[in-house]
Assembly symmetry: C5
């Protein structure tokens, strides 16, 4: 939700400045692979990358943290990455996007995790010939499975080029959204089941938080859809035709995520209505109890009050039959009132446990309640 000012207003655009409190990586991890083999090592500076190595196979250089400015400046100075792109890397609050610079492609992805609140970590990916450079804000990502596949030679990743690696990364990021969505869907379903029974104020705050989380997720996935679509549709010289087919598949998954998000948003809004109607019903029930008790006792209390009066000339007071008669009158009044309430339907137990009483009253609704369509 934070807005992350992009650069201090007095700084010129294109200035590279590490954000405050950024993780400072000492070195960058390199994975170089060809169909035949894999090599992993670390480099402390960009010019340690072997020129010959870059010319064959695929090289994946990964940077965990934005604090080592000399490494990032190396990308600009040695590899010609555009300063605007590198500025976006450092001010890590970009929307997912793809930018086509003269000699490289710059893709911003966002990895989402949920731990009390939705956390988004920016993953910047550069595609530059055979070299793929990824820069993340912190250590730990959702690409470990991909690394394993490269190491083990599983799947086709070793046999394909750097553009396939880029696709595999986007695919891994999008796939990591699904477990999140599953949790969200489970939470919504559990609220649907328990809301009617237990509608306290904590629930409403929880639902609000849920909606905030859906909103935040949508802010990430919506531009991602656009970006992946642009990658799959427009012709970029860095993306080969077969990989584009894979990207189309990737796009399908993004649309699926968005679809679910929109459905969840509607369902969460419906939860709010469900909650409000439950509160209304409960209030109604409280009012009914009050009204029944008050309506029954207020009139007979009045009767008792009348015969508590101290007038000297109240003939009834002397009669033997008077006291039992008053009791009879009062009981009759109570019975009449109970009858009235029963006819109003106020005495039927409220439906807090709907399963218990369903068989009792015949349901006049034609469609069975649980099976609308």
């Amino acid at each position: 939700m934070a807005t992350h000012r992009r650069h201090l207003p007095s700084k010129p655009p294109g200035t590279l400045m590490a954000p405050e409190g950024a993780v400072i990586p000492a070195s960058a991890q390199v994975i170089h692979y060809t169909p035949e083999g894999v090599r992993e090592f670390e480099v402390g500076a960009i010019d340690e990358l072997d020129g010959e190595m870059l010319s064959r196979g695929v090289t994946w250089l990964n940077l965990n943290g934005l604090g080592n400015l000399s490494l990032i400046e190396g990308l600009r100075d040695k590899l010609g990455f555009h300063p605007l792109a590198l500025e976006d890397v450092l001010h890590a609050a970009q929307r997912p996007k793809i930018e086509d610079y003269p000699n490289h492609l710059y893709v911003v992805l966002r990895m989402l995790t949920y731990d009390g609140a939705l956390e988004a970590e920016q993953l910047s990916v550069f595609l530059h010939g055979n070299l793929v450079v990824t820069i993340q804000e912190r250590e730990g990502d959702c690409l470990e499975g991909l690394r394993q596949r490269i190491r083990s030679g599983g799947g086709q990743v070793r046999g394909m080029g750097a553009d396939y690696l880029l696709y595999a990364m986007a695919d891994a990021v999008i796939d990591s959204y699904f477990p999140l969505l599953e949790n969200l869907g489970d939470a919504i379903e559990s609220y649907e089941d328990t809301l009617v029974l237990q509608a306290d104020e904590g629930v409403i705050t929880d639902i609000h938080r849920l909606r905030r989380c859906l909103l935040g997720m949508r802010r990430v996935v919506w531009p991602l859809r656009e970006a992946v679509n642009a990658l799959a549709r427009d012709s970029h010289p860095q993306i080969s035709e077969p990989v584009r087919l894979y990207l189309r598949d990737c796009y399908d998954h993004t649309v699926q995520v968005l679809d679910l998000l929109e459905s969840y948003r509607e369902l969460a809004a419906g939860l709010m209505e469900l909650y409000l109607s439950t509160v209304s019903n409960r209030m109604n029930e409280v009012m009914k109890v009050l009204t029944i008790i008050a309506t029954i006792f207020i009139p007979i209390t009045f009767v008792a009050g009348v015969y508590g009066m101290n007038f000297e000339h109240m003939p009834e007071l002397k009669a033997r039959w008077a006291y039992p008669a008053v009791w009879a009158v009062m009981l009759a009044a109570v019975a009449a009132m109970l009858l009235y309430f029963r006819r109003k339907g106020w005495l039927s137990k409220s439906r807090t446990t709907p399963l218990e009483e369903d068989p009792a009253p015949p349901d006049p609704r034609p469609g069975a309640p649980g099976t609308p369509p």
Copy 2:
């Protein structure tokens, strides 16, 4: 509503893996027909399909269940179906779509059934020359009528090609949505009629479930519309010109389904408002009863209390006329209050049975209530 993770993050895309608990078909059903005749049989492997048979007439191969991986791998290895498409077949939570692969067309349809909750079963259709391959998640589909027409030679299906068979399938799936919609519409109408009379908490849960069902159905039909439109509009080499005319008709029906769905969604939202206003009205009525009873008895109870006081010097207590006079005062107070309530209109019976009292008060509304326009 489930999100169905597409593939385990550590698995490479394009890996074929049967989903857990999938139905394992022993064989595939084949229907081969020409204008002259029909032949039905089963095959245990893809290469049992006769090459000569494929070259004339139309062959429809159907697979009930996703568990027999060797059959599905046969499609990839013998017929060249794309691994991404087959992966989509196996991870059966795709949106309806059409994908144009170099040598075949891949169409995802979803059959909907309602049994307590909306169930969607994926129907994957491949069009590959004269061969149509369909793969469903379970046995049982809405294509039985189509099979009968092929067997009996009814309609034009035997005289047309494989593209017409594809159309006939899409048509059958979309037609199967209409009874569902009819039920939904009936449910909404029945709620509209009974909601005012019976607004308990079960109704609100039912309406929420109804809206969820409409939402789920829309998630299926919306992309279907796009897919059918793409089939009818774009030129695919596999689709001939006359069949495209039929597909345009098919598209019309999808739009009609969507139209109804949107109307139902608005009506269901209106039901919620209707419910809330009914609850409000009922609360109002409860309050009125309480207020009338309390307002009538509280003042006269006070009067009784006054003459229950034990002061020694209360001259009224000695008067002969005092007791009847107090009764007169109390009755007058009650009458005044009843008059006040009648003028407020609180004493008119609440309209739970609107038909009974309509004739009583003259209706000031110019448009007759039941006939707005």
Copy 3:
């Protein structure tokens, strides 16, 4: 609102089957006209249409009812109308649309009437050279004025071709929507005036019905707009240039209808809010009466109760001045409470008749209440 299954699932598309309970016309009405004259007669079969007659002037063949299948099959067999179009004629729940078949134009219009509920009758129009064929579900339509003009030679219809006749029909159908809209607008205005005074449960059902009617009408007009626009904009060989100018005018009217419908929908939604706020206000008033009565009498009833106690040692009970003093205290308490309520503003009469009391309290709102802008 019914969904009208298009054809039985087991029937092939393109099968012609009369709907259940359809009107069975014995014959078709023919109006043949040239600038010079008009001739009206009936035909029992399509081939009774004179070939020479079709080659000059304009021929309008009208069929009242869908039950005479041999006539409709005649259209297919003699005139080459497309089976899909004729199927749409028979399953009369199509959205308004225009379809361009190789040798004829097929236009679906819907005539709306309101009689307790919105009724839509499908009017299918075929334009085939000089021949216009109209097929309606029942006798009775909104084209009588057009027939009169043809008979009397009024307007330019006799001097123009079959395409102008098609336009004149669409124009007559759309014009027939305006009286309906006028009624709807009047109903909304009357509710706006009376809602505040009389907000019972019947009103809310009426408003819901009104919204349902607006929704149904929009479902008809929205696709009509598209269809008329397509007719006016795309070049169809059957439509001449001057008639297209008239169709553009027709399109304008459809847009106007839609405009009004959308406004009415918003106003009807506003009526719902108006109703709910009226109910809230009324509840507020009920509560205020209860609170005032209870708050005034409960404390003084307590005072009376205190002096009703039977303690032996209550010195006040013996004092001469005690009884009047208690009355004084109770009256003072009542006065204090009334003052408090007056300061709260609870004692001002509720605004059920706003005109009566407007002059009383000075209005602090700067914009005069009745003249916001």
Copy 4:
């Protein structure tokens, strides 16, 4: 809001018929100007327009009222105006639009005035070579300033052609919307200020009326935006390039009007919510008063009732200390209850005059209440 049936259904389209009750102008006002001078006069028939005059300078012919049919037929017969356009002139309920007829341009504008309700008067403008014809429904318009500029030679209007005159008219009409908008904005702001203090039922009707007015205005401005955009963007032979620059400016203003309208619509919807929440709060306050009074007095009234009982064996009644002790108990109960309410926060005065008590309770909200951002 009226729907204004366009022509009687039995009348053919294109028939010219004066609307009922139309103003009948005796003559038309003509202003003819060249850069050098101005001439003003009246004509009783269209053919009084001097042919030579039309060939140089600009001629503006204005008609106040639709009742003189011979003048309007003159436009059709002498100048070749299209019958459909003239029909639109006479049935004065058109949306703003521009129509390009072969030899003239037809523009419909709508002048808005507010006098209790929103009134729209149609201004039809024809551009035909050097001649501009305007037809309005009644005398009185917003073009007086433009006339003055022509007479005085102010601005560039005298130096430009007939297309600039058309632009100046559209500009004058759109400028006349701004004072209306200013009033609407002021009304909304004043409601925002006073709603919390005074939320009676009259306010809700006023807000509904305000929303209706905004809706009506939007129905006029939305198509106007389209029309002006079409004028500025499409190449019409009648519109010269420099004037198109002015029209672009005009378009900007229309967009600005729409922008404000949309904002006002949202704010008016927010007013409704503000109102409802105010009513809720007030109800809450009423309930609190009732609850406090009842809760304090009901228990102690019970205590008094207990000692009002007439049992013979109630030892307490004899004790000297009993009466003061009962008072002590009752006062203690009241004190306990007051403490409880204070802890609940129910005793703090309700915020009807927020300025008075703001300093009292420390505000736990971090953002100062009046200064969110």
Copy 5:
């Protein structure tokens, strides 16, 4: 919110008139720079600009205030700025836009500040060859950082042309929106935290003000997005290719601002719901207290009333055990009622301080309340 009539209706468009109360600058500030150096001075009239100076380096002329008409007329007469553009400068209520005049580009930006209410100041920028002219309504802007960079030679601004200066200005304006957004986001979050605890009427007014502010801001940023996009996408001869890359970056930031605004708008709408539900809950709680107290005491008060009656023949009154027995009955009734309320769950403390009681009742919701996804 003000609507700022553009020009008096009787004034011709294109007339230059200083707005009322405008700041009257005595002179204009000029900054002239080349890669080598900077020169700053003031000019009192436009023709003091040195022609030679204009031909090399970049000249930035800034005007603080709209009151000195002779300076602005100088722009029209000496530099050929279009009168319509200058009129827009003077009537400072334009939406952000870009207009392409034959020899110059005119860009309207709006600087936003918040001081009790959202204030927007118009910044008009002209790009005319090497000359950039900025005109603001008052002194004080968000360009000071840019000026410092020019003076110090920081960044690349000195090495680039006038188009880069234009970009740097737009960038500075957009960057100045982020702190505003941060404040808005903080305000929303703080309301989310405190709303449940403290929901008085002031909060609802604050939220309404917050929404009004978001609405106003969106009215500025939405057209800005369009304008910046047009600058970045369309080819303007004044904008060079490398600067267009920077503008694309600028566009990204505008989209980011809009994204946040839309999220904030949804969250603010959610706050309203949160508030209403809190008020409902509180009312519920008040009702419960009333109901519990009344329900407990009303019946036993009735019992006390019964034995306060003065009948001569009430045998119980004489019994020794009667008084204690009545107490026992009354205590039993209270106990029964407390039990009933406990079973209803009404006696559990309301969740005003959710943290205190969370551990007490076992939570039946499956998803942990604070961690939905």
